[in-house]
């Protein structure tokens, strides 16, 4: 608003500060470099606010306008968004962990132990990765519950709900494959339980164990398989399905609301 008003002579200190603010503002947001990055002006007018959402690839996941009821925290509790945010944190911390970790049964455990003691913030990164992973599993369940109890799966959102179920499975499998990587007793035996469960599939038990776990018991093959799945295959799949998920929310006419 201040920009469009006629700037009179400043009469007191607060007005002087106001003028200064406008100057700084102009220097920061109205220069050539800034405007080469952000095509729209600073989002302080409705026009710019819509432009910033429409022209920024990250914000573009959103529509430019949204129904009033959907902004209320109690409608979504941000659960889907937070699930996605956990995924982002996991990606960042996960990449950092990869710098120090080799998926070899002779090294994996030592690598994690060394990460905790010898690497600056290594322990913190590992902890954040671990706890946000648990949080993501919890959040995805809560998100599914919120979608269900708000009846948001109904037409035309049937397919996006199915995409959601796939994301739920991917989240669980991502978490499970990560569980093995520290190669400690907890990891080995938890995955051994899972290995047994996989082996109990009717008719395809052996095949499941061979293909997914790389053998009839949990060993070096399992570690490298789980590692590859955990750091590239599954995150990639999850990212693709998330892209579809978000795209479909927009295509299905935004979030569900009463007719």
């Amino acid at each position: 608003m201040a920009v469009t008003e006629e700037p009179g002579k400043p009469r007191n200190w607060s007005e002087r500060i106001g003028v200064l603010q406008d100057r700084i503002y102009d220097k920061v947001f109205h220069n050539y470099v800034w405007q080469s990055i952000f095509r729209s002006g600073y989002p302080n007018t409705p026009r710019n606010q819509m432009l910033v959402v429409a022209t920024n690839v990250f914000l573009h996941l959103h529509p430019t306008r949204i129904h009033r009821t959907h902004v209320k925290i109690t409608h979504t509790y941000c659960l889907g968004g937070l699930t996605f945010f956990m995924f982002l944190i996991l990606t960042v911390t996960g990449v950092l962990l990869m710098f120090y970790y080799v998926p070899d049964v002779n090294r994996a455990y030592q690598d994690i132990a060394a990460l905790e003691t010898n690497v600056k913030f290594g322990l913190l990164m590992r902890n954040i990765h671990r706890w946000t992973a648990h949080a993501m599993v919890i959040l995805v369940f809560l998100h599914m519950m919120r979608v269900f109890y708000t009846g948001a799966y109904k037409p035309p959102r049937e397919f996006n709900w199915v995409v959601g179920v796939i994301l739920l499975v991917l989240t669980l499998v991502l978490s499970f494959t990560g569980y093995l990587l520290p190669w400690d007793q907890l990891a080995l035996w938890a995955v051994t339980v899972g290995h047994g469960i996989g082996g109990s599939a009717p008719y395809f038990g052996d095949e499941t164990q061979l293909v997914v776990f790389g053998g009839y018991e949990v060993g070096p093959n399992t570690l490298i398989r789980f590692y590859t799945l955990h750091v590239i295959a599954l995150p990639l799949l999850a990212a693709i399905f998330m892209a579809v998920h978000f795209w479909r929310i927009r295509r299905d006419g935004g979030m569900a609301r009463p007719l």
Binding site: N127, A135, F148, G151
Partner: protein, 344 residues
């Protein structure tokens, strides 16, 4: 504001001027939504950073395939499957039931296509009530079944008389040793140990024995004129299991024999129980007049599946000790396995 005024003034306008009104009900994503998202992200970042400063992720001893910790447990979100394994056939517990549950989730929107009450929390008339009842029912029933299936566990404090669900079937006599055909049902007891009733569903295929006279007609499984449970029924050939028909493992029942007692104890009984209990609650709520649409049925089922998923995970986490015995949380001690076997 304008919308409210319009609504109040006009006498129930038949044609709703929708598009216009929608625009007025909308807010801009920036700042309204982006702000909320940003705050949520910051709060979570701070929370998890602080949490991670104070609580360390577990790291036990190096993995050692020859040292089995007792109990060994799956991650919490799969512990419910591990729990189910104790009560039924492993293929059902580990693979089929979870697959069915996920499949059920996936088809919900294709079966419930009404547009009633979408986009608002608990939009239909009795949905809160149904959700609460289904959740409580599922928690109580799944916990109850777990306890019931741990028949050798005393359910009362020590100073009170012992109550174990195995006592319900104590009246079935102990099997006499060394006899071939026992006739009336009996339960095999371990030599030298006191007589126990049925402690676990699996006992039905293992400890329970009886026999009925069975004439030697059309290739019956028994050769001695008596049909013995479980012995004579444990190895029933499936028709055509010896025919060479198809390529390799595509002949799914090649060389397949059925273990009838095992199927009854580990598949039929658990599954019938689950289906029966699910139908029961739906029927009761229906008779009460609270189930009016398909959505209501799905609310019950969805809620019950999630509630029992959670309950069984909690049982697995907090009530399973060594040898997967059912014990209270404070008695759980993990045996890390033989110490001297740890690698250097």
């Amino acid at each position: 504001m304008a919308v409210e005024a319009q609504r109040a003034a006009g006498p129930a306008a038949p044609a709703r001027p929708r598009p216009k009104r929608e625009r007025e009900e909308e807010v801009l994503v920036w700042p309204d939504l982006v702000f909320v998202e940003f705050i949520a992200a910051v709060l979570f970042t701070i929370t998890f950073t602080i949490l991670s400063v104070f609580i360390n992720a577990p790291l036990l001893n190096r993995a050692n395939p020859v040292v089995t910790p007792n109990p060994s447990k799956a991650p919490w979100y799969f512990l419910n499957l591990q729990e189910l394994l104790l009560h039924m056939d492993k293929a059902w517990a580990g693979v089929l039931l979870p697959t069915i549950a996920l499949g059920f989730f996936a088809v919900i929107p294709y079966l419930d296509r009404s547009r009633e009450a979408q986009g608002i929390w608990f939009g239909t008339k009795y949905s809160v009530r149904l959700t609460v009842i289904a959740a409580i029912y599922a928690v109580v029933v799944s916990f109850g079944l777990v306890v019931f299936d741990a028949g050798d566990r005393n359910l009362t404090p020590e100073f009170m008389p012992t109550v174990r669900t195995e006592m319900l079937t104590r009246w079935i006599p102990s099997c006499p040793e060394g006899t071939d055909h026992v006739g009336f049902p009996c339960l095999k007891d371990e030599a030298g140990s006191p007589h126990l009733g049925i402690t676990n569903t699996k006992d039905i295929s293992k400890r329970l024995e009886f026999s009925v006279p069975f004439p030697k007609v059309f290739g019956n499984p028994t050769s001695d004129g008596e049909l013995d449970w479980p012995r004579d029924l444990g190895h029933i050939p499936v028709p055509f299991n010896n025919v060479d028909c198809c390529y390799g493992s595509l002949h799914l029942w090649k060389g397949m024999y059925l273990n009838i007692p095992d199927i009854i104890a580990n598949q039929v009984i658990p599954l019938v129980t689950i289906v029966f209990l699910a139908l029961l609650i739906i029927y009761i709520l229906f008779r009460l007049g609270w189930v009016r649409t398909k959505r209501d049925i799905f609310i019950i089922m969805f809620t019950a599946v999630l509630a029992s998923y959670l309950t069984l995970s909690l049982v697995g986490s907090f009530f399973r000790g060594q040898g997967q015995a059912l014990i209270p949380p404070w008695e759980i001690k993990v045996d890390e396995g033989a110490g001297e076997l740890h690698p250097p």
